[in-house]
Amino acid sequence: MTERPGRINRLRRIFVRVSRSAWRRFIISSVVGLAVLGLMRIPQVDATMFGQPDREMMETAFKMRADLKGGMADPALLIDIDDDSLAGTLPKVEPGGFPTAPPATTPRAMVADVLEYIRTAPAGEAPKVVLVDMDVATPTPGDEEAAAKLRGVLVAWNQTPTAPPLVLARQSFPEVVYGGTGNKLILPATIIDDLVADKHGKIFWGQVKVMADQNGVMREFLPYECVQTPSGPQVLYSSALLAYGFMAAETGIPKDAPVRKWLSTAEGVCAKPNPAPIAHGELINFHLSLGKGENGRVWPELPPTWPGFKTCGQDTDHAIFRRLSAADVAAAAQAGPDASHALLCGRLVLVGGTNTVASDFQQTPLNEMNGTVILANAATGLQLSNGGLRRVPWYLQISTLLLVSLMITGGFTVTRRIRDHYLGLKDRHKESSFWVKVRLTPFNPVVLNWAFAFAAHWLGISLLIFAMGHGYWGYLSAPAFAAAATGAMQEFADDDD
């Protein structure tokens, strides 16, 4: 009992001693960190090197959770126009001959067969939405018969009550391509314009543009663009955004969903005579990985709570993502009643190509990925995050930063103590053997600081993974780094004093 006042006095002395040096450092570090945090909320600053640590951290978080959790997004089925699919459509090489270059366009007859297979799915096995990542407007000289076949299938699509919404990818071109002088984007005419214009139809145009950072890594998708059509200016929404809209039709898009800002402003922006292009798009919530040349990828299973089980039954395919060769699916279209459609039930079906002729591969935070798989990430990623990744609220970011600054200051204080202890140990073991000195390495302040930095980095990544699991992301790396650098500089300054 007699010791307690002495101990309290000792603690008070320590606190006062700490407060004189550490509290000052904490306040300065926090102010610098908060300033950087404020700057990071400006998109132009975010795009600079200051945003790079957070992009790196986000990239690591994407990689860490890739293909591990199904989440509540609808599963996706990629009908892949792969090299095997193209092989079946090319003319056979005569003995003694040598192959000529394959056509640059996707075989329309194969796409028609694939769409016919989907169209004929019974009502209880139909997909939620179908997205075709191939521009039907691209001319196919010499293959008019197949183009007519495709149109025939699309005519039937509009007339089939059980057919799901069909989003067809389109490419717009600046009017200079057509001899004009402006920068307006022209959406060329196609042989199915009348089918898309049909207000009771189920076919929609969508664009598939994605946006890269300065390193060429695709991180965002373009939510919409303003295009000129024969009927005047129109909004050409992103295929991923449209697909998300159809997938979320039953539950509705949440009121606070970030994508709502695009939906509410697009019409007004495109009605202007010279709409400004969008500089920053919608973040792609990467979670599905399929690298170039990967054939053995396995994706996780749907959670038992997926609402689609009510319609599709428990025996439906449980994989959150599946890839099938388009050649096999086109062959299934010929099988008629001998083909099951259960694989399509309640899914986002994507028709696209990993074939080397189209060579549609882009660098993403996960790996070099096919364009259609990026679209799958964009669309189902919106579902996972309830309409887009939101920034962590500013008060939470500030609180976390203050906590991080406190930890940094505390860390420096601890390492300073350990450093003093380490110097004492070094003096004591000056004459000891090499191996005894090696045993002191963990107390080396440099090693300790690196260990703290490493732990802080992975703690940040863990927090980010947790936040992204709830549809949030937040910039903390650059502010924390700034706070830590400020703390280190003060530490050096104090040493000099």
Partner: protein, 287 residues
């Protein structure tokens, strides 16, 4: 009061346990899905799937989901192609038990890849990707004993070499079609079957790996071709002249063929001569 609370607690506990049991049972009975039937060649009626949970699909359709433990049977010359998660494409011509989904990603694997990308950000990661790939390549095999591009082997004594591709060792191979099956095992990918006298006919090779996965392939053994002489026999002038006379006669009466002409033409291949060339030669003499 205490008794009521305890009873309520016990009831809640029992209900929770029952619910968990039911949920687990429901989970276990559901087909988790390990692949898809992508193609059925031949009569679909001779294909069947015996489900792991005891059910059966008498006449499976293409795009049908198959689950781990299902047994796919193909008879009557039918061939079923399965696309299996993490295992690629498997062709079934007799019976095949669907293997569990292989190579599912793990947090450790993802962390390894993430750290690897940070350490070597500008390097192509092919060697590491190969290590991370996880599942083996689908099981397959080649028969280097057969001439390249050929599915035929001349009759005689042969010790067949089976080169296994993919799968998981050790492997076993069985050769059937002769008087008695011939088999061998190997821990590596090369299996040398014991020498056997192979007569003309159709033979089947079945390779099985450690996981029970199997693939079959067929080849033919044919009777040896007639030996080709080292030196071509030259036609003698009297033979040609006799044939030319026969050809002249044949032109006058197309259905008439002389014995000499027939002999020359029929023997041409075994003499190492081109039959058409011999015919043209006879024709030129006849003019």
């Amino acid at each position: 009061m205490t008794t009521t609370r305890t009873t309520t607690f016990r009831l809640a506990l029992a209900a929770g346990a029952a619910f968990a049991t039911l949920a687990l049972a429901g989970q276990a009975s559901a087909c988790a899905g390990a692949g898809v039937v992508t193609r059925i060649e031949g009569d679909p009626a001779s294909v069947s799937i015996k489900r792991a949970d005891g059910g059966a699909v008498a006449r499976p359709r293409v795009m049908e989901v198959v689950c781990a433990g299902d047994v796919v049977r193909a008879g009557g010359g039918a061939k079923v192609t399965l696309s299996l998660d993490g295992r690629g494409s498997v062709q079934v011509t007799s019976s095949y038990q669907v293997a569990a989904r292989g190579g599912a990603p793990s947090l450790a694997g993802n962390a390894y890849r993430a750290v690897n990308d940070q350490v070597l950000p500008d390097m192509k990661r092919l060697p590491w990707d190969v290590r991370l790939k996880g599942p083996d390549d689908p099981l397959g095999f080649a028969l280097p004993t057969l001439a390249q591009g050929s599915q035929k082997l001349p009759a005689g004594n042969h010790s067949l070499l089976v080169r296994v591709l993919g799968g998981t060792g050790p492997y076993s191979a069985v050769l059937e079609g002769g008087s008695a099956p011939v088999s061998a095992t190997s821990a590596t990918g090369e299996i040398r079957l014991p020498s056997a006298a192979l007569g003309a006919g159709r033979y089947t090779v079945t390779v099985k790996d450690a996981t029970g996965e199997s693939v079959t392939g067929q080849f033919s053994v044919v009777s040896p071709a007639q030996p080709v002489p080292d030196t071509y026999r030259e036609l003698t002038d009297p033979e040609v002249r006799a044939a030319a006379t026969a050809a002249s006669l044949a032109r006058g009466a197309p259905t008439t063929r002389s014995f000499e002409a027939e002999q020359l033409l029929d023997k041409a291949p075994s003499n190492g001569l081109d039959r058409q060339r011999v015919f043209d030669l006879i024709e030129s003499y006849g003019e």
